[in-house]
């Protein structure tokens, strides 16, 4: 591991000033991803600015009736929060579906959004990788890609974003707040992750040197009837091979409102707006749930070894929406 300096920040503007836009410096939250990547040499910062003691560790009511989640709230505290569990149960479920109890105690909301892909070629500094070393190529396209992207990828990179939390945040129209030396800013999660295109190394819309300060969830009444379902290769403590965050409001048998987002199929949490459009106003039945999934997955471009994800996601959508429709009918 490269030697590095360490500074502990005590307020937001101080943290931004300590980092000072230095491309060789990184903010340190829980460290569950960053420290691991430093050990393998994927990340080689010269300076860490520790932000764990910033006063951003609260979940509070937001103006307009939503929830404001501070960037240093741990995954554990987010998932245990009564208002999160009551108003956005799929978010609590998504967080609980990720990692282990130990890691959830350490990991922060800001760090969760900025965690890196678990693509094996990205993690191996001896492999080419357009995301880690721009222009070197993507061995995954013709190599090991059974858990890679089927939506929104490019020939330059087919890595997925590994967050569970982000999938629920995407379904509920979360907005990311940040701070720069020039002041605060915000960006909807829908625009937070950049399209892959030819620049997979450029991952987010955050300005250089910006510190994520929190995430705001708008009020989403439909989210009270929501669910996160994750499919993985073992029962617990594994990344998803496919996941769905869904919320459903059925009135008189018709879909009044639906929120749908997919995980582990793209370089970002994938909001399934095409599926939502098909369903809104339609009878809430399995046939229409399947048609909605098909509308979204029409854009899928599977590789030789991950075509199963298209079927998996279709089945997941039908199963989860059917369960939510049943609950709504109770």
């Amino acid at each position: 591991m490269r030697e590095f300096g360490y500074r502990r920040a005590h307020d937001v503007s101080g943290a931004v000033a300590l980092l000072d836009g230095d491309p060789d410096a990184r903010f340190l939250g829980g460290g569950t991803n960053l420290v691991d990547l430093m050990k393998t040499g994927v990340e080689r910062p010269a300076l860490l600015v520790d932000v764990r003691e910033l006063p951003l560790d609260r979940v509070e009511p937001a103006a307009g009736g939503g929830l404001r989640i501070g960037a240093t709230v741990t995954n554990s505290d987010l998932a245990a929060h009564p208002e999160v569990r009551r108003r956005y149960p799929a978010l609590a479920q998504a967080v609980l579906a990720g990692a282990s109890g130990q890691l959830r105690n350490m990991a922060t909301v800001g760090g969760n959004l900025l965690q890196r892909t678990r693509c094996g070629y990205f993690a191996d500094v001896h492999s080419p990788c357009n995301k880690r070393a721009p222009g070197t190529g993507c061995p995954a396209v013709t190599g090991e890609h059974h858990n890679h992207a089927v939506l929104g990828a490019s020939g330059h990179c087919v890595a997925t974003h590994p967050s569970d939390m982000g999938v629920a945040l995407a379904a509920f129209d979360a907005v990311v707040s940040y701070e720069t030396a020039d002041g605060p800013g915000e960006v909807p999660l829908a625009d937070f992750y950049l399209p892959v295109g030819e620049t997979p190394h450029r991952e987010t819309a955050l300005p250089p040197g910006a510190l994520i300060t929190g995430v705001t969830l708008p009020p989403v009444p439909t989210a009270a009837n929501s669910r996160y379902r994750k499919v993985r290769e073992r029962a617990s403590y594994a990344f998803a091979i496919g996941s769905v965050a869904a919320a459903l409001d059925v009135r008189d048998g018709l879909v009044h409102d639906v929120r749908l987002a997919f995980g582990a199929v793209a370089s970002r949490p994938w909001r399934a707006r095409a599926a939502e459009r098909v369903l809104t106003g339609a009878p809430a039945n399995a046939e229409n749930f399947a048609a909605a999934a098909d509308a979204e997955l029409a854009a899928a471009r599977p590789l030789p070894h991950n075509g199963y994800k298209v079927t998996l996601m279709r089945n997941l959508v039908v199963a989860v929406l059917s369960e939510l429709a049943e609950e709504a009918a109770r």
Binding site: L48, P89, Q93, G101, A235
Partner: protein, 180 residues
């Protein structure tokens, strides 16, 4: 001037203060084992995947291999050496002994530290991925074998002593519930 790459710091471990100078690259795990001779905490994968290095940081279970020692300054760290009360074993330690919750013993310190926290997290009403309904109105989930397996999934046991581990955690949770 480039920033210093080492720091003098004070770690608080099992109620004792230790002052030492560390290279910033030092993990809490390596500081405990190599500098403070607290070798009860084990190094397994060193990548946050096996749980052998689990300790309590401010009462919360954490993997010490992904925690930088310099970032642990100011936090109260409890290792397996600090969970008993004098000669009296912690109820989780006693349950692991009574029910053979181990074979080779290498993962055991991490299992026990994790289980202590699992019982506290459950008592605080935290749901898990095995909890059917996470809404607070549903009430706290019972600590079933399924809940224990899910909550302990961050601790791998190469010997496969899981059946006894689940029983030991359940026994300890019952005895602590009875004592409370």
């Amino acid at each position: 001037m480039p920033p210093s790459t080492s720091s003098e710091l004070t770690l608080s471990v099992n109620g004792e203060k230790y002052t030492l100078t560390v290279d910033h690259r030092t993990t809490l795990l390596d500081a405990l084992r190599e500098r403070l001779d607290l070798t009860g905490t084990k190094k397994g994968c060193d990548q946050g995947q096996c749980g052998a290095c689990t300790v309590l940081v401010d009462g919360r279970r954490s993997v010490s291999c992904l925690q930088l020692a310099v970032a642990a300054e100011g936090r109260e760290i409890t290792t397996i050496e600090g969970v008993a009360s004098g000669d009296r074993l912690h109820p989780v330690q006693q349950a692991f002994l009574d029910l053979d919750g181990f074979q080779c013993g290498y993962c055991t310190p991490g299992q026990i530290c994790s289980a202590i926290a699992v019982i506290e997290e459950h008592a605080a009403g935290w749901p898990s991925a095995a909890t059917g309904d996470v809404r607070p109105e549903a009430g706290p989930p019972a600590l079933t074998p399924e809940e224990i397996r899910e909550r302990m999934s961050g601790n791998l046991c190469r010997c496969g002593a899981y059946v006894s581990i689940v029983q030991a955690v359940a026994r300890a949770a019952e005895s602590e519930g009875a004592a409370a």
